[in-house]
């Protein structure tokens, strides 16, 4: 499929998602309120996008649209993670849409448009494209965060998300422009080529300032300390299915872009070059961000009473772990971690969303008292997801952490790995605390039985199978990722 020299195939997933999103929106305009139709259409579009991404596999690394978009192993794998995240989010939102009487069409359309932004972000090989993709994500998610309009908490969270998100975007943009000033290009491949040689002193100054700004912008988007302030508030206030979405798919996309820009483009080459001059600085900055995120996230999570806030701080801590992988420049380990994180976090939030019930009311950890044996279909999966988040052997969380730490150790980040492992130990406390409350605390009032929908059961099956499959038999996914890594190697530089 090629006309006017444009290779549409390369943006196949994005085309599918955009068309589906517009279709869902139009259908809603002409015959509103058909949740099943819109939902199935959206889900079909997302699955088709995943297929389109897989179809890029055989192409090998190709660039298109004036090298603005790239199709390589990193993109294919992260697109699949995002697709999985969106699919599970659609399932998690299923009963929530009925309960809150939310018009389903716009909700699904926004979800799809956000996903378009994410897959484009993963595919972007140009800082201009990267900025546009990031904005597509954030503008869609601002609206989603404030979706429960009559609830003040939701509106407040949308406002905070918007103000801080737009603020960080401005930093990101200024960073992009300064880097453009230093290298005369916004294209990442071209930039890597220019930075493999020496630059003038003034250009180096511009480059440093630009990269620092870029780091601030990215820091906001992937929720790392000290740019995390919005996270707990937004995660708490946003409708729970939206929180589930925010904490997984956009984060995976953000880390993919982080990897592409920092680990691949700004990587040190071991020779006298601008890239090496720069690398020593960004590596120490990212190291600091990683340590702060892990430590702060885990320790503050301990004192939380609201489970959504607790999971928000846990999400900050996990961002810290993932940054170790970014430093080790092992994108496959990061990709695997994000896949696992998406599965366990979405699974956990699915239960939190269900238990919160109408109006997001039962969200305190104390509200989970007595859930244990009264509704085992809720409590046991939640316990498994929490244990996996903590990284217990046998679950996917362990394998992901192990791989990440192992490759960081090999890359010479031993201190960082030690801090990461110690932090993991701390995190066990607050994850298991929820489990203890569920099983060993008596409830103050009668625990209601919550009917479990088919959509919820599907989410559980997918997430649980994923957590155990990746925890016990991860070799096939490893092989897939290795193949993807080779695919990248041909394309890079």
């Amino acid at each position: 499929m090629e006309s006017l020299g444009i290779t549409y195939r390369v943006i196949g997933p994005e085309l599918v998602l955009t068309v589906t999103g517009v279709l869902v929106m139009l259908l809603e305009a002409f015959s509103p309120g058909k949740k099943v139709r819109d939902g199935i259409l959206a889900a079909a579009g997302v699955v088709l996008a995943g297929v389109a991404a897989l179809a890029l596999w055989d192409e090998g690394p190709v660039m298109a649209f004036s090298q603005m978009v790239i199709a390589d192993g990193l993109r294919v794998f992260f697109t699949l993670v995002i697709v999985l995240g969106t699919l599970l989010t659609i399932l998690v939102s299923w009963s929530f849409l009925d309960e809150e009487r939310i018009p389903p069409g716009e909700y699904f359309a926004l979800l799809l448009f956000g996903t378009v932004g994410m897959t484009l972000l993963v595919a972007s090989n140009d800082l201009m494209m990267l900025f546009l993709a990031l904005e597509t994500i954030t503008i869609a998610t601002y609206v989603l965060a404030g979706y429960r309009r009559e609830d003040l908490r939701s509106t407040e969270s949308a406002l905070k998300y918007f103000l801080l998100g737009a603020f960080s975007s401005a930093f990101l943009l200024y960073g992009i422009v300064l880097i453009y000033g230093a290298t005369r290009t916004t294209n990442l491949a071209e930039m890597a080529r220019i930075m493999s040689g020496p630059l003038e002193e003034a250009e180096i100054v511009l480059l440093m300032a630009g990269v620092a700004m870029l780091l601030i912008g990215f820091g906001f988007k992937v929720t790392t300390v000290p740019f995390h302030v919005w996270t707990p508030d937004v995660y708490e206030g946003a409708p729970t299915p939206v929180t589930a979405f925010l904490s997984t798919a956009p984060k995976a996309a953000g880390f993919a872009a982080f990897l592409r820009v920092f680990s691949l483009t700004f990587a040190p080459l071991g020779i006298e070059s601008a890239a090496d001059q720069l690398a020593s600085h960004w590596v120490s900055a990212v190291t600091a961000m990683s340590i702060l995120s892990m430590t702060f996230g885990n320790f503050v999570a301990i004192v939380q009473t609201n489970i959504k806030r607790m999971l928000a701080y846990s999400s900050i801590a996990h961002a810290g772990y993932v940054l170790i992988g970014v430093l080790a420049r092992d994108w496959a380990a990061v990709a695997f971690y994000m896949l696992v994180y998406t599965l366990m976090n979405l699974g956990g939030f699915a239960i939190v969303a269900l238990w919160a019930r109408r109006g997001d009311k039962w969200v305190l950890i104390a509200d989970y008292a007595g859930l244990g044996f009264r509704q085992p279909l809720l409590s046991f999966p939640l316990a498994i997801f929490l244990v996996s988040l903590a990284g217990f052997p046998g679950t996917a969380g362990f394998v992901a952490k192990f791989w990440l730490f192992k490759s960081a150790w090999g890359a010479g980040f031993q201190e960082l790995v030690l801090i990461g492992v110690l932090n993991t130990v701390v995190s066990v406390y607050y994850y298991l605390y929820v489990v203890i409350v569920m099983f060993f605390r008596e409830p103050k009032e009668e625990v209601p039985r919550i009917p479990l929908s088919r959509a919820f059961m599907t989410t559980m099956v997918v997430a649980l199978v994923g957590v155990f499959y990746l925890g016990l038999l991860p070799t096939r996914v490893f092989a897939f990722l290795n193949a993807a890594q080779n695919l990248l190697a041909i394309g890079a530089r």
Binding site: I139, G146, L159, L163, Y174, I176, Y180, G181, T185
Partner: protein
């Protein structure tokens, strides 16, 4: 006629960016904060155009068009959220939006 050196343009843009950032930090009115963010975006635009004309390369100017569109979209969504909050609260002060502890 002497031409203005490029550093002056960059300095003006940097000053604008700082003014915008300080506005966001200091002001508590949501709309004024949005204004500050717009000033920051335009400072970035000015820098992009400066480099673009200095390099005789069009990339920077194209970026500016996209940024303008993004800024407009962002303002539309942002103002909608601010209006929504105003309906709940009858105030634009972000410090009073404290149901979620910071």
């Amino acid at each position: 006629m002497t031409t203005i050196p490029i550093s002056w343009y960059l300095a003006v843009a940097a000053a604008l960016f700082t003014i915008g950032a300080v506005t966001v930090f200091v002001k508590r009115n949501a709309i004024v904060m949005l204004l500050g963010i717009e000033v920051m975006l335009n400072a970035a635009n000015l820098t992009a155009v400066t480099f673009s004309s200095y390099f005789r390369e069009l990339g920077g100017q194209i970026l500016v068009f996209f940024v303008m569109v993004v800024a407009a979209a962002e303002a539309a969504v942002g103002l909608a959220i601010i209006v929504l909050l105003f309906r709940h609260r009858e105030t634009l002060n972000v410090d009073e939006a404290q149901l979620l502890k910071l």
